[in-house]
Symmetry: C2
Subunit: 221 residues, 2 copies
């Protein structure tokens, strides 16, 4: 085993450290976040920091880099501050390259949708654009935000206002089969992965063996 | 496409809603967190909410459910409050069932290590136990915490104090090959997945095609 302590980590060359540190959070979701500035300019940007926060109310969190002045970037952040809404769209194996390309530095007036070749779709009354090519689309409203004191990153809390996904990927017990939809996982800053399900496991109980779960729900007692 | 709005979501049966909402954050890391209560009782618990927060300083975040009174559970949370430290250990395909079993309700005096058959290992001077079977082990110190106002979940910020991983999975450019190590991804509450890398992609630039990255770093300009 290779062992590094905090000083060893600090002494790593900056980009090498970035790739290693971004590997340490394990496999991550691959999402593009859609926003608008309220003047008709759409924005789309890649994120791998979406996290589940709660089911009732239905909340997702996302980590954003420390915002710079609006004229210099951080369009996702400032658009969410301006309009209060955003969409999270799951990336699948048929268009992950386009999703990755959204992380290039485009001007505020340029639409990443146009630049990379993805189509915006809108839900009636909801300002932020979603991605037509995405099989799982989520509309959220910003309900809270925390500035992480150590590095000024922002942790945005979004409440889910609507979701869209293919009916046939939704199991009877509520499980949504992302793998069947070709949704990809990420690792570190740039690695995209398909998945192969090992199994679903029953709710763990003391002194009781785990069993395999099918989409119809928990196995009988 | 099946569409649900916030009222539809609220009206779902509770467990069905839980499984769907937990699916919506995409593929997630599978980790067990090791802690101690400072009186020699070790705890190990499954989490899928670890998120990258920063590389300098090296920070990871993790979401914990709203803590209950210490005598009723939330051992991970109270142990971190007590000792200030914890370990994050990546789960691999050879022992994910043991990891899942740690989520059963064990008493504070019981060690999940013993109950599920995993071995604690200690680093000199660091109170929290790590997992011998894990190929990626991370020791962290709690540096901040945010109580999420909407549901009282806790978002813990941990600074990385040490890491251990197999040397041969570490690419020259800093990328750590989790897939090679058999590290699994999770989806929803109970689904475990192996991964298959599609590719690593170059840093995205405007008007420049993406290229495949090898472990030696960015392709030449």
């Amino acid at each position: 085993m290779r062992a590094l302590n905090d000083v060893d980590i600090e002494l790593l060359e900056q980009r090498k450290r970035g790739r290693l540190m971004n590997s340490l959070s394990g496999f991550k979701s691959a999402n593009v976040i859609g926003t608008t500035d309220g003047m008709g300019h759409h924005n789309l940007a890649m994120f791998s920091s979406v996290v589940h926060l709660g089911s009732d109310p239905a909340l997702l969190g996302v980590v954003l880099r420390p915002p710079v002045e609006p004229e210099n970037g951080s369009h996702t952040y400032w658009n969410i501050r301006e309009t209060g809404v955003f969409t999270i769209n799951h990336v699948s194996d048929s268009w992950y390259r386009k999703a990755h390309q959204t992380s290039a530095r485009y001007d505020a007036e340029e639409s990443e949708f146009e630049a990379v070749g993805l189509n915006p779709v809108f839900r009636c009354g909801f300002e932020a654009p979603a991605v037509e090519e995405s099989s799982v689309r989520i509309g959220l409203e910003r309900v809270d935000e925390w500035k992480i004191p150590q590095n000024e990153c922002r942790f945005i809390v979004g409440q889910i206002r609507w979701i869209e996904f293919p009916e046939d990927a939704w199991a009877e017990d509520g499980f949504l089969d992302l793998e069947k939809l070709g949704v990809v996982a990420m690792s570190s800053l740039d690695s995209y992965h398909n998945t192969q399900q090992l199994e679903r496991l029953s709710y763990a109980k003391k002194d009781k063996p785990l069993t395999r779960v099918t989409g119809d729900g928990e196995p009988p007692e």
